[in-house]
Symmetry: C2
């Protein structure tokens, strides 16, 4: 029948760009599936994790700043902050200088949970990539970072890439030096 061979979308394995495009989409889809299938942590969900990560990187911030950093609507971030506050992950105090703002601060408990989750995720990644050589791991890390830098540069110039290019630690020199 028709579906036998030769898919129409010629995913040319010889064209690296085609492979990259498809694999990036696959990676995104896989992460979405993982997120739906097993909530990693009931106490610190994905939104909370990213929120804490942003607060950890930016320091105490108002909701507008957080929304800009996360690329979300202020109302959405406001709800996320409210939820995190209910769980004791962050605290919210009115800014003395400008009492319209509420300054959101990561609580020690929130930071601890975030670090804990970060360690757990790294442990999973370590186990998943156990068979890789150190050189391959370093290469993947470089490639991922460079790729995300390009995405940010081309599509998110206005957004602080929290967790991508932290303010103080510029991922050094992603020069195209490495081969093999």
């Amino acid at each position: 029948m028709t579906g036998e061979t030769a898919p129409v979308a010629a995913r040319d394995e010889a064209d690296p760009v085609a492979v990259i495009e498809v694999q990036a989409a696959v990676l995104t889809r896989n992460f979405e599936l993982l997120r739906r299938r097993s909530g990693f942590d009931s106490q610190l969900d994905r939104a909370g994790y990213l929120l804490l990560l942003a607060l950890d990187s930016l320091g105490p911030s108002d909701i507008g700043t957080l929304a800009a950093a996360l690329g979300l609507d202020p109302s959405t971030v406001g709800r996320q902050v409210a939820a995190a506050e209910g769980k004791g992950l962050v605290t919210r105090n009115p800014d003395p200088q400008d009492r319209r703002r509420s300054v959101v601060t990561a609580s020690p408990d929130g930071l601890a949970r975030m670090a804990e989750l970060s360690v757990a995720r790294q442990r999973r990644t370590t186990k998943m990539l156990a068979g890789w050589s150190v050189e391959d791991l370093a290469q993947l890390a470089r490639m991922f970072t460079r790729y995300n830098e390009e995405v940010a540069h081309h599509y998110f110039t206005g957004i602080d890439q929290v967790g991508c290019a932290a303010p103080h630690d510029q991922p050094k020199h992603s020069t195209a030096e490495d081969d093999s």
Copy 2:
């Protein structure tokens, strides 16, 4: 003040695994933002694109097979198929052998739209990575693919990784002989 000092989640740049974990999360988040900010195609949305991709790879299939391939609930895929059918992207015929099943087939128009979108995405990727050397592109493609293979192997052993790792395997398009 906390923003200047070392963040708690020590993103050790010397540890490739830590970088990989963070960058994978960043990539996923970036893609979600892009998806929300600009609907690429009103006629062929993301779900439709993935559905067509699966049909292109598997050949005509019933909803259950598609749901397994996509890692989604059959009811969800049923709705996606209904939407795609309404747009003329797929056709649905009752299976003569088993009239409980409806065999979904990609229409020529659907395949054309899918290929068109695929080309457009590749063109965007090409432009985004214009400054990269051919060797770096090949390296990124390899790293992406290997990484996704590991994810699939560790977390999606039961799911057909459509569009992920199906270079030379025959698409078994047969009408679901899996009634064991």
